[in-house]
């Protein structure tokens, strides 16, 4: 199956170091209620009325051509390509492997932005081609996780452990929703999990919730169920930074 792409974002500066190009793939195993890219949840093409228009089928040559246009900026800035979505790791495995090999041949460093909710067998063969993973952790309680994302977190946590054991560089990214993911108990559990498994991420990014995606639901003909979500205040955010830093984690930052 040929993956669909909703957007190729150039001068992407919040999804990994330097100046990057981020490719957004369509289709995700999770359906987070706060998702700000709902158009990337379904694997199917849907008609929706935003400027990006209908998603297009990824063709590796075309994609590489677009990516290579900004090579000089990756070189100068220590940037590269970030594969995101949706969930890139839920896309066609052969396609992904081929794309990653081509990027490796061109010496372009790749980051993968993932929710982790895929079988580890899909991830393992890609490891040698990926510079680092931007790995989402949301809710540490599996039932709560299921309630808000449509799926438990067992696979996600297990994959994170295995990624660490296999030597991958990992940045943890946490969408911060007031009273939900952003509460001391959730962060405590996150710290415990990471420590118990000896996971030392390259950095932890706390991403404050924003509702810029809410309008997209309407255009997709869907109801937005996240009206009650809000971002924690900046003082509260600072508290979490302190909490994580005090627990011994490096590069804890607010924002991407």
């Amino acid at each position: 199956m040929c993956p669909l792409i909703t957007n190729i974002q150039k001068y992407s500066i919040h999804d990994g170091p330097g100046i990057r190009t981020t490719v957004f793939f369509k289709g995700c195993p999770l359906h987070c209620l706060w998702c700000h890219n709902p158009e990337t949840q379904s694997f199917e093409n849907e008609i929706w009325d935003v400027c990006e228009g209908v998603a297009r089928e990824a063709d590796i040559d075309g994609l590489m051509e677009e990516i290579l246009k900004d090579r000089i900026f990756y070189d100068e800035s220590g940037g590269g390509v970030t594969l995101s979505g949706g969930e890139v790791l839920a896309q066609d495995g052969e396609f992904l492997l081929e794309l990653l090999k081509r990027l490796k041949t061109e010496a372009i460093p790749v980051f993968i932005d993932t929710c982790g909710a895929v079988p580890y067998e899909r991830i393992k063969p890609l490891l040698v081609y990926v510079r680092a993973f931007l790995y989402d952790l949301k809710l540490m309680d599996s039932e709560e996780h299921r309630r808000y994302t449509g799926s438990g977190n067992g696979v996600i946590l297990d994959n994170l452990k295995r990624l660490w054991e296999d030597g991958a560089a990992i940045y943890i990214r946490v969408p911060m929703i007031k009273g939900l993911s952003a509460q001391k108990g959730n962060i405590d559990k996150m710290i415990c999990f990471l420590k118990d498994n000896g996971i030392r991420p390259e950095g932890i990014n706390l991403l404050p919730y924003h509702d810029t995606g809410s309008g997209k639901y309407q255009r997709l003909g869907r109801a937005y169920e996240g009206e009650s979500f809000e971002a924690p205040g900046s003082d509260e955010m600072e508290e979490y930074v302190k909490q994580l830093t005090a627990a011994g984690f490096k590069n804890v930052r607010i924002g991407g």
């Binding site: 974002q9 150039k10 001068y11 992407s12 500066i13 919040h14 170091p17 330097g18 100046i19 246009k69 900004d70 000089i72 900026f73 070189d75 100068e76 800035s77 220590g78 940037g79 810029t212 924002g255």
Partner: protein
């Protein structure tokens, strides 16, 4: 008004400079008129010009403001603007207009008007360069000029566009005088047919040395007098130090850092009082020139960094005290600003090719940051060897949003200069000044002569040479648009029209250059410009080592998208016919929504890293470059091109009907080499890639504006990415890039509430200006420039 970092002295001086209204000062004009009445016809023209400067510096009202450490004003006080009736003699009506106009106004008193009408106008009417020049122009030239096909820089202001060199800091004017005397002695009246001309020119230079020394002596005496009366012992000591400085410079070479700055300032006054050259005058690599004095004084304990910065800030105030001379008519439209385009260059490389950044470079950046003034314009020159620390410090200031410093690519500029035939050493000593124009500093007269309205040449090509604005047949009759059966035929016709207008412009330039060479020599500027003394020849007559004449192309974005829209829709896709497009243009797209949508939204656009449009941009650029470059000027040099607009893109748009890319009638054309507004939708990397497809090295400078919202460049990562963006553009041989970091909403607020944004400074073209001082059309244009934002 925000005031950061400055000490009390500087705050006060800056306030005086900011709060004093620019005003006309007729003292120079009156003294000049007396000198002309007394000597004209009795002495040679160069000597007459030198006598004007000497008499003015001998008699002018001196100003030495409270707290000043660097002294000297062009006129009688800060913000005084002497007039130059020998170039352009303002009518009584002009005087009222300059006083009453809303923007870029100058206070004129009743007495000024009385003097202008009583003394100045009667003498100068019929004698001005402006009249001589316009009288010599052909009907063809005049019609094209009045229709906005091109502008003419020398119509009201003298040729300039040059920078000083190290020499200014290494020699006193008595030393120059000795050189001049020696050159006079060596004149060969037996064999050299130009010996007499050389004698007159050299004599004039010698008188000008005296003129500057007299100004220095007068300040020496004034400071002593003031010290004697001063009750504050600290200020009295400062005044004695100023007096001591003025006893050394400008007659002798400077001994200290303080004297070095004072020396530059005296020289600056000499150049800008003699004539009113475009781009005033600039010190060149100020950091490298000052560094030996800084190091010596610091080692001897005479100077610390606070003092070094304070003295720089005093110099900054001096630059800011001098509004550009009053402009009227079309020249005002093309360059509506008080800014006089003096431009401080920092960084770059040394003559041996090594990195040029030193401690003074960082002090200049601090000074720029604290002073936040529109003048002097300031830039950094970035080479491969420039430390990231310096680049990032410059980015840190630039991202504060007011457009300074601009960033220039030293390595590319060296290649431009080598390509233009300079020696490697002269190339390394050179750089960009004014807006973005390249020259061999201290060694070259590189004169901007006017803007060329490239999109309008296409407009005329589409209408068989007919101009809607003037209602005249201005271009060649090469057929109507629908007669062109292919894109290539259309392009061929455009090529012929372009040549036609470039020829008209150059024919005019050839006459104007000779008028200046004969009637308006600049012996003072010739003293400090290398080879004028040894050749016995004036700066305006080819005396400099190198002599380049520039014509600046405007509207590359608009024309590229226009040609792309025609090629794509009319010839490739056959969406509509040329006739239908032409009708739409004449109707300003009213009732032609389909065509408008096709050309405006669905056609390839320059600025998106799309080869379809970018290849067209290259073809137009190369055609323009090859039409101009290499033609001989009258000074033994050649023509070259720049791609910069100042504010001319607004004027050029105003004289046009709608363009095939969907630009509506009378709206500005694209500025610099930036894409047409809102045409670039793929972000800053795509813009930079598109712009880099132009061969910058074969030009004399290009100008690229980028507008960011503050969030894009926030934080340490934002700074790193900004630096990387600049490095990327420069590694692709981009010439220059500058940033407006400000969100659209702020600009709209500022437009609606100008009083609340009195200190909002934005980048316009090769300079920054107060937003409130810009015309509504230019404000709109800046608001509309595509904003790069990625959340």
């Amino acid at each position: 008004m925000e005031e950061r970092g400055m000490n009390e002295r500087i705050k006060k001086l800056r306030r005086v400079s900011m709060e004093t209204a620019p005003h006309i000062d007729l003292e120079r004009a009156r003294i000049e008129t007396e000198v002309y009445k007394k000597y004209e016809g009795k002495v040679s023209v160069p000597v007459l010009r030198a006598l004007v400067l000497k008499e003015y510096f001998s008699r002018k009202t001196l100003y030495l403001g409270d707290g000043e450490l660097i002294v000297g004003e062009k006129g009688n006080a800060p913000q005084a603007s002497p007039t130059f009736p020998e170039l352009c003699c303002h009518s009584e009506e002009d005087m009222h207009v300059m006083n009453d106009r809303e923007l870029v106004s100058f206070k004129v008193t009743e007495e000024d008007i009385k003097n202008q009408v009583g003394e100045i106008i009667p003498y100068w009417t019929g004698r001005t360069v402006r009249e001589h020049l316009l009288n010599q122009m052909t009907d063809e030239w005049r019609a094209a000029y009045e229709a906005g096909m091109f502008t003419e820089f020398m119509e009201q202001r003298g040729p300039g566009h040059t920078c000083g060199s190290k020499k200014i800091f290494e020699k006193g004017y008595l030393d120059y005088k000795a050189d001049i005397e020696k050159a006079l002695e060596e004149l060969d009246f037996l064999n050299d047919p130009e010996a007499l001309d050389k004698k007159e020119e050299l004599t004039a230079m010698s008188i000008d040395c005296d003129a500057l020394c007299i100004l220095g002596e007068r300040y020496h005496e004034l400071a002593l007098e003031m010290a004697a009366k001063e009750t504050d012992p600290v200020r009295a000591e400062e005044l004695r130090a100023i007096a001591a400085n003025c006893a050394v410079v400008p007659a002798h070479k400077p001994q200290t850092y303080w004297q070095a700055i004072q020396m530059y300032w005296f020289t600056h006054l000499g150049v800008t009082t003699e004539l009113n050259p475009w781009d005033a005058f600039s010190p060149g690599r100020l950091d490298q020139h000052l560094n030996p004095f800084y190091e010596k004084d610091t080692a001897e304990g005479l100077l610390d960094d606070e003092r070094a910065k304070e003295l720089l800030e005093c110099l900054w105030v001096k630059f800011h005290n001098q509004p550009a001379p009053v402009k009227v008519g079309i020249t005002l439209k093309e360059s509506a600003t008080y800014t006089d385009f003096a431009n401080i260059n920092t960084g770059g490389i040394k003559p041996d090719g090594s990195d040029g950044v030193n401690n003074v470079s960082y002090l200049i950046l601090d000074c720029m940051d604290e002073m936040k003034l529109v003048q002097p314009n300031s830039n950094v020159q970035i080479s491969k060897k420039t430390p990231l620390k310096f680049l990032k410090r410059a980015c840190e200031i630039s991202r504060k949003g007011w457009g300074q410093p601009a960033f220039y690519n030293t390595d590319e500029i060296v290649q431009e200069l080598l390509n233009a035939g300079k020696t490697l050493e002269d190339a390394r000593l050179g750089g960009s000044s004014g807006c973005v124009e390249t020259g061999a500093w201290g060694n070259e007269a590189y004169i901007l002569t006017g803007y060329l309205n490239i999109p309008k040449i296409l407009e005329l090509t589409l209408f068989n040479g007919y101009d809607h604005y003037s209602g005249k047949q201005l271009g060649l009759k090469l057929g109507n648009a629908e007669d062109f059966k292919s894109y290539e035929e259309l392009f061929e016709a455009f090529k012929k029209q372009l040549e036609h207008f470039v020829n008209i412009k150059i024919k005019g330039n050839n006459v104007i250059e000779r008028i200046y060479a004969k009637e308006m020599p600049a012996p003072f500027l010739s003293i400090v410009t290398n080879d004028c003394i040894s050749k016995g020849k004036d700066y305006n007559a080819g005396g400099a080592r190198y002599n380049t004449t520039y014509i600046q192309g405007v509207g590359i974005g608009t024309i590229s998208d226009s040609l792309a829209a025609i090629k794509y829709n009319v010839f490739d896709k056959k969406k509509f016919s040329m006739r239908e497009l032409i009708d739409a243009l004449e109707k300003n797209f009213e009732g032609c929504e389909d065509i408008y949508k096709a050309v405006h939204e669905e056609s390839p656009k320059y600025g998106n890293d799309d080869d379809y449009a970018d290849d067209i941009m290259r073809s137009v650029f190369e055609l323009y470059r090859d039409t101009v470059t290499g033609r001989p000027n009258t000074k033994g040099g050649e023509y070259r091109i720049d791609m910069l607009p100042t504010t001319c893109h607004v004027y050029f748009g105003d004289v046009m009907i709608a363009s095939p890319n969907g630009r509506l009638a009378h709206k500005p054309v694209s500025e610099g080499i930036s894409p047409e507004k809102s045409a670039d939708v793929k972000g800053p990397t795509a813009v930079i890639k598109s712009c880099a497809k132009m061969d910058h090295i074969s030009t004399g400078g290009t100008l690229l504006n980028q507008k960011f919202t503050p969030s894009v460049v926030a934080g340490e990562a934002g700074l790193d990415n900004m630096a990387a963006l600049i490095r990327s553009y420069f590694s692709m041989d981009g010439h220059h890039i500058q940033f407006n970091v400000i969100d659209r909403q702020t600009l709209i607020d500022a437009q609606n509430n100008p009083d609340e944004y009195r200190d909002l400074i934005v980048r316009v073209a090769g300079y920054s200006d107060y937003f409130r001082n810009l015309s509504k059309a230019l404000q709109d244009e800046i608001i509309m420039r595509t904003e790069q934002s990625f959340e």
